[in-house]
């Protein structure tokens, strides 16, 4: 019997070639450079939308959101008139590690978003972003071990609630810790498959992009230094655990680009009377915003007086965080009041999910025909929106949900999905007088659909660039590496073009398996019961 392969996937949240390639050229990322020379790389097209939710699960299931039932961080409950946050249990599908586990392959998953609450797998799992300092590991007692050994931190002590200075050392500390934990887990469990996500590239690139592009003295190197830290972390892992026989895959859930302009979509809809907003109950946040007392402004002002570092070392961090939370953030990517109930759902024709997709209130239309006509007209209007400075269109494309999604949960899809031209975003806020906002601080870097893909290992082509890889293709490709049949309901394909022509993986037949009929029946019956049908 041939030996079982070993696969390490490094999921680098928001990793993008437009940052990595110039740094590789300058010699700042020697490990990634070496991997590029020894393997195959290219863009990895993200899910639609290209957000953390659902992108990470599109990777681990190999399925489009129509089969998962999740289209973003927030779900929309039209009947109850509210938004709700998704979590791991919202996704209705088996994942890569479930199939590996069924074939007795030991797996480890560390810090991948969309994994809380944690679940049992054949190995171990440490959830990302747990809201409680407990219950985030499988097996349960792993949590104690992580606390004792590493003083494991779910999140950095400080993100951006105290401005940008406090965030950097806290984020670096946690990132180094993830690599240390990955070392420990490799040693302790010896998994044949390990997935490690390095999440904080995403917030770092959101917050310091403009500084990088402008070569700002104080913050211009933050992104570059962070990437050097990651390169070094990868080097440590590879040196200790990966020989030439290990498959190493670097991937990201989406890429990044410069923010060119933020369109106040919510404001636009509300001015067209398509969205009705209630009067705010707590106008304090809006008032502070108008006075320019945003969190970033306040903390960069007092930060210079050394008060913040002093307070930070003397006050419990919870208190300082609470004070900071009173101030609005500068650009208000998503307005909390919008999520908290400021929408009059009954009187609104269009409900914008704060990050962009649109749900249409079908009750507002007398017939299906009327609804369709309204939707068609709205598509035309959105396509006409132009950014006034560059004269560029805001939308690259506007799709109806059923045009891009397919599967059992397609009825939950947004009615319209607006794909922005690169660099443009929708603001989930009504604040600000102008329709367009040009952030100079806060989120100056934004997502783009092209993430990264890099693979090396036995039988994988060297120094080659590939085109057309999608986030859905990774799960089937990894199953093929392990010679496990690919479930027929996965949407992705095996990236056969990455394998050398005479290799076993290129020559070997791609095997498929039927969907687990028992699981399908169980799920179907449970759903019928939940809906009171049986």
């Amino acid at each position: 019997m041939k030996e079982r392969p070993r696969v390490l996937v490094l999921g680098l949240d928001g990793a993008t070639w437009n940052v990595i390639k110039p740094l590789v050229k300058e010699g700042r990322l020697p490990t990634i450079a070496k991997l590029m020379n020894n393997g195959c790389c290219g863009d990895l097209e993200s899910s639609i939308p290209d957000y953390t939710f659902p992108a990470w699960k599109c990777y681990s299931t190999g399925k489009n959101p129509g089969k998962l039932g999740v289209y973003g961080f927030w779900g929309v409950d039209m009947a109850k008139g509210k938004f709700f946050l998704h979590n791991s249990a919202s996704f209705k599908s088996k994942e890569l590690w479930d199939y590996l586990g069924e074939n007795n392959i030991t797996c480890g998953v560390l810090d991948m978003p969309t994994t809380y609450p944690c679940k049992q797998i054949n190995g171990f799992m440490i959830s990302h972003g747990a809201p409680r300092p407990s219950g985030y590991t499988y097996p349960e007692d792993l949590e104690k071990e992580l606390k004792n050994r590493f003083n494991y931190k779910i999140d950095p002590d400080y993100l951006f609630e105290l401005g940008r200075d406090a965030a950097i050392p806290s984020i670096k500390e946690v990132t180094n810790q993830r690599f240390d934990v990955a070392h420990y887990l490799f040693k302790e469990f010896d998994p044949s498959f390990l997935h490690v996500t390095i999440f904080n590239i995403d917030p770092i690139q959101h917050h310091y992009w403009r500084d990088m592009e402008e070569g700002n003295v104080r913050y211009g190197k933050v992104i570059e230094d962070f990437w050097a830290l990651i390169d070094n972390g990868i080097k440590g892992l590879l040196n200790e655990f990966c020989d030439g026989e290990t498959y190493v895959i670097l991937m990201s859930d989406h890429g990044f680009a410069a923010q060119k302009g933020e369109f106040r979509f919510v404001k636009w809809l509300s001015e067209k009377n398509l969205l009705k907003l209630k009067k705010p109950k707590f106008p304090l946040s809006g008032l502070l915003f108008r006075l320019g007392l945003t969190r970033d402004n306040v903390f960069s002002m007092v930060g210079r007086t050394r008060i913040v570092p002093l307070l930070r070392s003397h006050l419990p961090k919870g208190i300082l965080r609470k004070v900071a939370a009173l101030f609005p953030v500068r650009i208000g990517v998503v307005d909390m009041s919008l999520l908290g109930g400021s929408i009059d759902w009954g009187k609104s024709k269009v409900i914008p999910v704060p990050t962009g997709p649109l749900h249409i209130n079908r009750n507002a239309f007398a017939s299906q025909d009327e609804y369709e006509k309204f939707r068609e007209a709205l598509i035309i209007e959105i396509k006409e929106i132009e950014e006034p400075k560059a004269g560029e269109k805001f939308a690259r494309e506007v799709y109806k949900g059923e045009e891009i999604y397919f599967g059992k949960y397609v009825d939950r899809a947004p009615d319209l999905i607006v794909l922005h031209n690169e660099g443009y975003t929708s603001a989930g806020t009504t604040r600000g007088r102008e329709m367009w906002n040009y952030p100079t601080r806060g989120w100056t870097g934004v997502h783009k659909p092209q993430g990264i893909f890099l693979a090396c290992g036995p039988g994988i082509k060297k120094g080659i660039e590939i085109e057309g890889a999608k986030i859905y293709d990774l799960a089937p490709t990894i199953l093929h590496i392990f010679d496990i049949p690919i479930p027929k309901d996965m949407d992705g394909r095996v990236l056969k073009e990455i394998f050398e022509e005479d290799s076993v993986l290129a020559r070997g037949e791609i095997r498929y398996q039927d969907v687990d009929e028992k699981a399908r029946i169980r799920e179907l019956i449970r759903e019928l019961k939940a809906r009171g049908k049986i």
Binding site: A89, M336, I521
Partner: protein
């Protein structure tokens, strides 16, 4: 129910065309007979749903929002 009772079987009639349809359906699924398929479906139908502990509470949702706020994702 005693152990011996659990192993006993009885006959239930179903229309022959339905029987044939199920025969077709179970091909390649791992079910070895129409009886085992029908038994499985009916067991699932009559099974009492286990009261699932709510894994993700309201408080959790508020904490996640606070985290997204700290990241600057929501205001």
């Amino acid at each position: 129910m005693s152990q011996s009772e659990r192993k006993k079987f009885t006959t239930v009639s179903i229309p022959t065309p339905l029987f044939r349809k199920i025969e077709e359906r179970i091909r390649g699924t791992g079910f070895t007979s129409v009886s085992s398929y029908v038994t499985y479906v009916l067991r699932e139908v009559v099974a009492e749903e286990e009261e699932e502990a709510e894994p993700f509470t309201k408080e959790d949702e508020e904490r996640v929002k606070a985290r997204l706020r700290a990241l600057g994702y929501i205001d």
